[in-house]
């Protein structure tokens, strides 16, 4: 894992800033945004100049405070998509509640989808399941169910995995859940936004101090801003690529 990150850090030295408009902090992790699979429904929605996105998530998709909604990544995603696709009517709706497992979110999905009618479901999950030590098989099944429900409702899916949280790392066994998520994403051919690796890279390179004990919101807001931007990059790239890049285009 670390070898890979070092390699990426080296690779990054050799490539120019592809999206120069992002703050440097966000750009550090750009290479971890890999559009492994195509998002055809999003591509069609973009062509029709109307993109509805539904973000379903748990506690790590929100920020506390009076400006929490405005600064959390779903709202930042909306902003970044607006900038990226001028002329397209982008609308991001959310269903975010703390402490929800994947299975609980699946229960809420049909209602969410029918009211938002999105072309894209951004689904953040995994942390709560790991904390509750929910049977990993059930977790995988919930992921499959949710993706199938979204697909049959006409929405593409992007999965978001857990945050990198160094202080609680020795207390939450994320491993199995993030692996299962990766596998479900591969099998269902759904892009995975690897929030964990991105945040870990930030932490390793000292971009953001994720260890600090603080009540202040500044770093949390910057992290959410970058995640919103990088997520928009992923959506843009995955909507564009018809076929996944065959020869590693990272250099």
């Amino acid at each position: 894992m670390k070898g890979r990150l070092l390699l990426l850090a080296l690779l990054m030295l050799g490539c120019g800033p592809a999206w120069a408009e992002h703050p440097a902090e966000c750009r550090v992790a750009e290479n971890l945004v890999e559009p492994s699979f195509h998002l055809p429904r999003v591509a069609r929605a973009l062509a029709a100049k109307q993109l509805a996105v539904l973000v379903v998530g748990a506690g790590s998709s929100q920020l506390p405070g009076s400006n929490g909604i405005k600064n959390a990544y779903p709202a930042r995603l909306q902003r970044a998509l607006n900038e990226k696709f001028p002329g397209v009517d982008v609308k991001v709706t959310t269903d975010v509640k703390a402490k929800r497992s994947a299975a609980e979110m699946v229960k809420a999905l049909p209602a969410d989808l029918s009211s938002a009618k999105p072309a894209l479901l951004v689904w953040q999950t995994g942390t709560v399941d790991a904390m509750l030590a929910i049977d990993p098989d059930l977790f995988s099944q919930s992921l499959d169910q949710g993706i199938n429900i979204a697909h049959s409702a006409g929405a593409d899916v992007v999965l978001i995995n857990s945050q990198y949280s160094p202080r609680t790392e020795s207390m939450i066994a994320l491993g199995r859940y993030s692996e299962d998520m990766r596998w479900v994403a591969l099998q269902q051919e759904v892009p995975l936004f690897d929030r964990f690796s991105i945040m870990r890279l930030w932490s390793e390179l000292g971009t953001f101090d994720l260890y600090s004990a603080t009540k202040k919101l500044d770093i949390a807001e910057q992290v959410h801003d970058c995640i919103g931007r990088l997520l928009a990059d992923l959506v843009g790239l995955a909507a564009k690529t018809e076929e996944p890049p065959v020869n590693g285009s990272r250099q």
Binding site: R167, T168, E204, A213
Partner: protein, 386 residues
């Protein structure tokens, strides 16, 4: 069936020592050095090595006791060992609770309100501690010892069978493994879920290790040294390596044909996936072929640090878990630079070696003080413990 040799196979100590180091490195969260450990290059990891060798040594030590002193005495010794491991587990739990309580009191960050919920169990410590003593509540990375306790508690009748009808014993173990997959057996955990290392699954490696110790390895040597088997093992290791690379470079994932992905995923660690067993067996075949039993380096100074750790595995394991807590603490409180990761990793292993060497020295000194004892009465004379 008699054991192949009365002399302890130093390769076991060497690889168990190395496995303990790898477990230590893997248990420090986000440790930059852990990229060297084998779990990153294939399907199996140090746990398989540890469980297999533990089974092997358990059979080696207690098998002789059972032959010489009978079922009751040998069983009592096995259970005494299980009790020691239980005490060690409770000791580690106390350290873990101290760490958790510290984090709960000192850490606050609006980015991680969700993650901090994991500390909620401190609100009802009565239930949590009781469940921990019942081995149902097992904090992160503290799953190996409960597995080991259970495997040992159940080992006496299995050893009895292994000494009389080794093939039937191995077959019954494999049957249990198959039944586990068929009926999805596992032991419930607290608050939800099941054991991270399913004992119904992992017993297979333990019993296989024991079976090898009691002569099985010799019967197999015809196979393990055949060119075809070695070739298959290498091919499988290359395949596992290629698949493992796609985990780290998602762009490579498109090269894995869909039917291959469908066939192999998910690779289940809890239930000891067959792919993991095959990966471990391939590693074992390669090891047996390229590291002969009488390899001179086994007695050299280069191998000594790992060998001595492997000979005192319980102490070294517990120390490793404690040191991984301590290492994580250094990362969060002092410095998280890669240089610190390297320093903490090296220092941790050095401490493990130093303590193992001290235990070794103490045992020898004690033994000399008491004068000679019959070898069977003291498993330590075999060069270490189960």
């Amino acid at each position: 069936m008699a054991p192949v040799s009365t002399e302890r196979d130093l390769r076991l100590d060497l690889f168990r020592g190395v496995a303990l180091w790898l477990i230590f490195l893997d248990h420090i969260p986000s440790n930059a050095v852990s990229w060297i450990t084998i779990r990153n290059y294939g399907f199996s990891d140090a746990t398989e090595i540890f469980v297999f060798i533990s089974g092997y040594t358990a059979a080696f030590v207690y098998g002789r006791a059972m032959r010489e002193h009978g079922f009751i005495v040998a069983s009592a010794r096995v259970l005494k060992r299980a009790w020691q491991i239980y005490i060690a587990h409770v000791f580690l739990l106390a350290i873990y609770l101290a760490e958790i309580a510290y984090v709960a009191n000192s850490f606050d960050n609006p980015l991680y309100t969700e993650e901090m919920g994991v500390l909620d169990f401190l609100k009802n410590p009565d239930v949590t501690i009781l469940q921990a003593l019942l081995l149902k509540f097992k904090p992160v990375n503290m799953d190996v010892l409960p597995l080991y306790i259970l495997l040992l508690a159940w080992f006496p009748p299995m050893l009895w069978l292994l000494l009389r009808a080794p093939s039937i014993a191995l077959l019954s173990s494999a049957t249990l493994y198959a039944l586990m997959w068929l009926f999805e057996w596992n032991i419930p955990a607290y608050p939800t879920g099941a054991w991270v290392f399913n004992p119904f699954a992992w017993q297979l490696l333990f019993v296989f290790g024991a079976w090898c110790a009691l002569g099985g390895a010799q019967n197999l040597s015809r196979w393990t040294h055949s060119k075809v088997v070695v070739g298959l093992a290498i091919a499988y290791l290359v395949f596992a390596f290629a698949i493992a690379m796609t985990w780290y470079f998602p762009r490579l994932a498109v090269f894995v044909p869909k039917f291959v992905g469908d066939a192999i995923y998910p690779i289940d660690k809890t239930n000891l996936d067959v792919l993991r067993i095959m990966h471990f067996l391939s590693l074992a075949v390669i090891t047996v072929v390229f590291v002969p039993r009488d390899w001179p380096a086994l007695k050299s100074r280069i191998c000594w640090p790992a060998v001595v750790c492997g000979q005192h595995s319980l102490e070294t394991f517990c120390l490793g878990v404690f040191l991984s807590f301590a290492g994580h603490f250094v990362f969060t409180e002092v410095s998280n630079r890669v240089l610190t990761h390297v320093a903490v990793s090296i220092l941790g292993i050095a401490i493990m070696v130093a303590v193992a060497a001290m235990i070794s020295w103490y045992r020898q000194a004690e033994r000399r003080g008491r004068g000679p004892r019959p070898p069977a009465a003291k498993p330590g004379l075999a060069g270490g413990e189960a």
